[in-house]
């Protein structure tokens, strides 16, 4: 069993599906509701399979922050216009294989958009490093 993070960026689907690049604020309210209901459905399915660990959404309003010097306030930058660099949210799963992690990510990516068509957005799949190596040498 290994844990994976399924990262949702603000990245649309492939070019052959131009419809699915339509920003969400141009969807109908019903299409938005259907999309959100599907996300909940994915979490429910993963929970029922004993694979769900966590799901969170992030506000797009973010700021970059860094240390400057002793006694000086932190340096801030942003927010940035390029939304494809931002993370919209994530799902954390605990699954038997990397193949299963990809299957779950593809399921998440099949979420409906305009006209109920799958938006086919890119999902970044990242394995977690374990904290400890196995007990044996």
């Amino acid at each position: 069993m290994a844990k994976y993070l399924l990262l949702k960026h603000y990245r649309g689907g492939p070019d052959r599906m131009p419809n699915c690049r339509t920003p969400m604020d141009q969807w109908t309210p019903e299409e938005v509701s259907a999309h959100i209901a599907f996300m909940q459905h994915v979490a429910d399915v993963l929970r029922e399979r004993g694979e769900f660990v966590d799901a969170q959404a992030l506000s797009p309003e973010g700021t970059f922050v860094r240390y400057d010097a002793e006694g000086r306030p932190p340096v801030t930058d942003g927010p940035f216009a390029e939304t494809k660099d931002l993370i919209a949210g994530w799902m954390m799963i605990d699954v038997d294989s990397v193949e299963r992690a990809h299957e779950a990510a593809a399921f998440l990516s099949s979420a409906p958009g305009p006209d109920g068509e799958p938006i086919q957005e890119w999902i970044e799949v990242r394995p977690f490093l374990e904290h400890v190596p196995s007990t044996t040498d």
Partner: protein, 382 residues
């Protein structure tokens, strides 16, 4: 853990086994045993029973019948209402083995078998198992209940092949400890129980292997929490009592003359434990055992570890030649390659490879160790 908890946890698989043999549906019986356990923990401190196992069987059986949750349980009740055993002593037969076979059913995924074994054989709560594997309790509850449904559907079959059982126990052992449950110690406890009910030398071999690794646990971590490789461990921290026990169990197993992979691995671990310093390791014998292990398993992981032993015996260049025949997809392949180049004196190549190995490491402790090794070889900045 209280005395009562320790006692009931030893009895869990035996009680569950009795219920299943009496015709109880596995999933419902497991629930009933868990409920009986809770009642035991509540009532025994003030009112200890004369025969704890009989008490648990009686209470769990009553809960199973009361629940009537499954068709099988209802059928069993109708059929058995006349010949239900009285509250006398329970069957002396130990059903741990039967329950272990069910929990490690080949149709289950490894993760499901591990979770079910820890609950139905180990007597841990779902919360404890969830904490140990860092998932929400609701997720672990689903994992266990799916596993129980699979087992109930597949049935007992003909238990006989211990292979899947030993694999599950070894997986639990390898998880070490996280949360408040020491899974390595738990795996040792369960394997001890299994070893007591079967004379199969591979069971003893696995128990010996676990003990020999467990004995070195205190030396595997430095004070700042970083990983200490075998060659650099402070051997005075090794637990000599546990080593002696492991070696004794292994010798008895080997005397049966039915070698298996766990006995061979334990033999290698015993040779390491036997060396007062890394330099005194009997590498030729370690290599012989790797040859045995390779013929038993044909595993590329074993082939990779064998390369290390070979290099210790015949030198790093022989090791590098042999490494070429091991698929480079095997985890730690790059780390071994780095170590061989370091041994051969090519520190620049070794440092590059250690960095690559660090990037491919599956856990934080190993990654940090490999990164530090690369940094040490590079030396300080000019």
């Amino acid at each position: 853990m209280t005395d009562v908890e320790a006692l009931v946890r030893d009895l869990v698989p035996q009680v569950l086994g009795v219920l299943v043999r009496r015709g109880g549906d596995f999933a419902a019986a497991e629930d009933a045993v868990q409920e009986a356990l809770l009642e035991a923990v509540r009532r025994w401190p003030d009112d200890p029973p004369e025969d704890p196992k009989a008490w648990l069987v009686t209470v769990a059986w009553r809960k199973l019948l009361d629940a009537g949750r499954s068709e099988t349980a209802r059928r069993a009740r109708e059929e058995r209402v006349h010949d239900e055993p009285g509250p006398g002593p329970a069957e002396p037969h130990d059903d741990t083995l039967l329950v272990l076979f069910l929990c490690c059913h080949p149709s289950l995924t490894p993760a499901s078998a591990v979770a079910l074994t820890l609950r139905a054989v180990g007597g841990l709560t779902t919360r404890q198992i969830a904490d140990a594997y860092l998932v929400p309790e609701a997720t672990m509850a689903q994992r266990i209940s799916r596993a129980k449904r699979t087992v109930a559907r597949e049935g007992v079959g003909t238990p006989g092949d211990l292979g899947p059982v030993l694999k599950v126990l070894y997986l639990i052992f390898n998880e070490g400890y996280s949360g408040d449950v020491d899974l390595a110690a738990e795996a040792i406890r369960l394997t001890r129980g299994l070893a007591a009910s079967t004379a199969e030398p591979e069971v003893a071999g696995l128990l010996a292997l676990m003990l020999l690794h467990h004995a070195r646990r205190a030396a595997r971590w430095s004070a700042d929490g970083s990983l200490v490789p075998l060659a650099e461990q402070d051997r005075s921290l090794w637990d000599t009592g546990t080593i002696a026990e492991g070696v004794g169990i292994l010798q008895t197993a080997l005397a049966c003359d039915r070698l298996g992979e766990y006995q061979a691995q334990a033999a290698i671990a015993a040779l390491h434990c036997d060396a007062a310093s890394a330099e005194e390791t009997d590498w030729p014998q370690v290599l012989e055992w790797y040859d045995e292990l390779l013929t038993l398993t044909d595993s590329p992981v074993v082939a990779l570890n064998r390369v290390v032993a070979l290099a210790e015996v015949d030198g790093p260049l022989v090791g590098l030649r042999e490494l070429a025949s091991v698929p480079d997809t095997v985890p730690r392949h790059t780390a071994v390659e780095a170590w061989l180049h370091e041994r051969a004196g090519d520190t620049a190549t070794a440092a590059d490879l250690y960095l690559r190995a660090a990037a491919a490491a599956g856990n934080i402790a190993e990654r940090d160790h490999l990164t530090k090794t690369a940094a040490r070889l590079r030396g300080s900045r000019p």
